[in-house]
Amino acid sequence: MIACADIGVSAGGRNILSGVTLALADGQRVVLMGPSGAGKTTLLRVLAGLLAPEEGTVTVSGRQASVAGKVLVPPSQRSIGFVFQSAALWPHMTVAQNVLYGLADLPRREAQERMRQALAACRVEALAERLPQQLSGGEQRRVALARAIAPRPRHLFMDEPLTSLDSDLKGELLNLVTGVIAADATAVLYVTHEEDEARAVGGTRLYLAGGRLGSQT
């Protein structure tokens, strides 16, 4: 379980997040919605340990992971998979190397096997030796998803993973994402401002506006 309590973050004299409390239980699905600039990405970064909150705490499996002004547990030790808004693939690594990066702790053979499974699940196994710049936008998103799920994280954060894709591709990838989520018992925190995506992912729906969190009916 990953949870945060009374999180506050500000920038340039403006409150980005204010008193945000959220818990993501194992296997739970939460869709976080809200307009642009509402603080959705900032909340994900705080939960992931990429940003220290100015107020409040973050706990991972009951252990304090972040306190005000300090990250106690680094992101790589929080068992998180993260799909960024842009694919954020490392351009100097092949698709296979991108996916293998998060599997470095495993024995070589097992890491290779996991990599193949993740690429197959995202239907990009044929692209393993390509560089990210040789892929289309849709293929890059698939690889980003494969990279996030390959280490089998307990929490999967997806920050508007289908943004700026055309509707056909978006529909196809949405099916893939929901399929991958359904296949695992991973807890999912899915950020979007698209109603159809939120409906497809399902689970609890939360609404973030003006830095404050509320539930949406």
């Binding site: 340990g49 990429l50 940003l51 680094p74 790589s76 993260f82 490392w90 100097h92 470095a104």
Partner: protein, 515 residues
């Protein structure tokens, strides 16, 4: 003026300022080889020249690699500096504008002070001379440049790529597998540039009694006046420098024409940890010591400088300003004419860029020889303008490349819209072209002025008697004593360089933000 006319003007300007000295050198060498084919042997290093070439390469390569390590490490610390302490970055990087021989003066004084202190404690320190001293000073000269390059390289790394690494790997792993590989092309370019700058500089090695290839070229020209010998002798160095500059300039041009990945982006969560943090701190401390030592020793030395000495330096300062001003004017013409050629992005752009690299690859003494030779051919007026033309020859290509990179980054739709909506003649130039290109162009010219005011390697060979610029006066006094006068001259020179650097940085930032 139509695009074709502009291109013709560009080619003519390049041919006149850059082509004539190079053609004069090549023609002179060719004539010498035809008369005496044996002189071609000068171009093949053997015996003494081979020893000197190996020594120059060793000194330059060692300097470049140490600068890479120290500069990159220091940049990692400077990156973590909180916003309110950003001025620290500037403080550490400012020594970039200080000419090498001023660093040498500062370190000679620091070493001498240390020797006196240690002698009192009964310890003897060997004299601060020779290869080790020259290497130390050169590292101090170019490490701030490498730190600047490393900061530029870091600014091009997308923070999201770093954060994506942090989610799945430790800080060390992200540095090793993500950050350094992404910074590598620019870091390699900076290292190669430092190598080339060291190969062409004779001031520091000569002050520490290290005989190098560049010094040999100068000595040979001074002793015999045979320009062809210097040209032939320079062939291996020029080839080496061109080989190093080609990939370096390609990467640096990418830096200039790529917007910073960090503009408006969130800051990455990456922080140096453990041994990396210790190493980075060491690098920052070294740069800090250099900046502090430079200021401290020059200020301490300035106590021996009198107002009379400062006032005596004013005519030399005036020569420096006049010469640098002339170089800026010529470079302005070059940049305006050749910038669009570089920005075109076609085959002729590549040829132009390659042509611009050649003067940068020529060691200072050879460039001076070329200018001197062109002066002999042209006679009369040339002698008056030769120093400015020499500086434009050596540093004008930087202005052309910077202008070209800026033009390449201009959105063609913006310029077309500017032309389309122009209601009064000249509106486009006044309200679109100048505000977007002007700051970068001005910053490029100030860079030419900064480099020109500090230059000695080539100026030594073309300055007329009684027309000594500040840099040359300092260099000469360093060899023949006069420490109070040197301090006064150094202070005047530094004040002038700082006065140029502040607006240059301001304009550069402003111009780039508008891109």
């Amino acid at each position: 003026m139509s695009g074709r006319t502009w291109r013709i003007c560009g080619v003519l300007a390049l041919a006149a300022v850059l082509g004539v000295p190079m053609a004069a050198l090549a023609g002179d060498a060719w004539a010498a080889v035809r008369m005496s084919p044996g002189s071609l042997r000068l171009a093949v290093p053997a015996g003494r020249s081979l020893t000197l070439l190996v020594r120059s390469c060793t000194l330059s390569a060692a300097t470049a690699l140490l600068c890479l390590a120290i500069g990159t490490a220091a940049a990692l610390v400077l990156l973590a500096v909180p916003t309110r302490l950003r001025w620290l970055r500037m403080a550490v990087i400012v020594p970039v504008i200080v000419p090498p021989y001023l660093h040498a003066v500062a370190w000679m004084r620091t070493a001498e002070g240390l020797r006196v202190l240690l002698r009192r404690a009964g310890l003897a320190l060997p004299p601060f001379q020779g290869f080790g001293a020259a290497l130390w000073v050169q590292v101090m000269v170019y490490a701030p440049l490498m730190a600047s390059v490393a900061l530029a390289a870091w600014s091009m790394v997308d923070p999201l790529l770093v954060d994506a690494g942090l989610v799945q790997g430790s800080s060390h792993r992200v540095l090793r597998r993500v950050i350094l590989p992404l910074m590598l092309p620019v870091l390699a370019a900076g290292t190669l540039l430092v190598f080339v700058l060291c190969m062409g500089d004779l001031s520091v090695p000569s002050l520490f009694s290290v005989n190098t290839y560049a010094l040999e070229m100068y000595a040979r020209f001074s002793a015999s006046g045979r320009t062809a010998d210097v040209t032939l002798l320079a062939v291996p160095v020029v080839l080496l420098c061109l080989a190093a500059l080609t990939p370096a300039m390609r990467s640096l041009a990418t830096v200039l024409s790529t917007p910073s990945a960090r503009e408006g982006a969130v800051a990455s969560a990456w922080r140096a940890a453990g041994a990396v943090r210790a190493g980075a701190l060491f690098g920052a401390v070294v740069l800090g010591v250099d900046a502090a030592g430079l200021c401290g020793s020059l200020l301490a030395g300035a106590q021996g400088a009198t107002w009379a000495a400062v006032l005596d330096a004013l005519p030399q300062a005036s020569v420096s300003l006049r010469t640098a001003g002339g170089a800026c004017l010529v470079s302005l013409v070059l940049a305006l004419a050749a910038g669009p050629l570089v920005a075109a992005g076609n085959r002729s752009a590549r040829w132009t860029a390659a042509f611009l690299l050649v003067p940068l690859a020529l060691p200072g003494p050879l460039a001076g020889t070329g200018a001197s030779l062109a002066g002999v051919l042209a006679g009369g007026l040339w002698k008056t303008v030769a120093p400015s033309l020499l500086l434009a020859f050596r540093f004008g290509p930087f202005a052309c490349l910077m202008t070209g990179a800026r033009l390449a980054r201009l959105d063609s739709a913006t310029t077309e819209a500017g032309r389309l909506f122009e209601r009064r003649r000249g509106d486009y130039v006044r309200r679109i072209w100048l505000p977007t290109l002007g700051p970068v162009l001005l910053a490029a010219l100030l860079l030419v002025a900064i480099l020109g005011i500090g230059e000695v390697s080539g100026t030594l060979l073309v300055m007329q008697p009684g027309q000594q610029p500040l840099a040359l006066a300092i260099y000469n006094y360093l060899h023949y004593g006069g420490s109070g006068t040197v301090s006064a001259l150094c202070l005047v020179l530094l004040a002038g360089l700082l006065a140029l650097m502040v607006p240059a940085l301001f304009l550069w930032n402003r111009g780039w933000r508008r891109a």
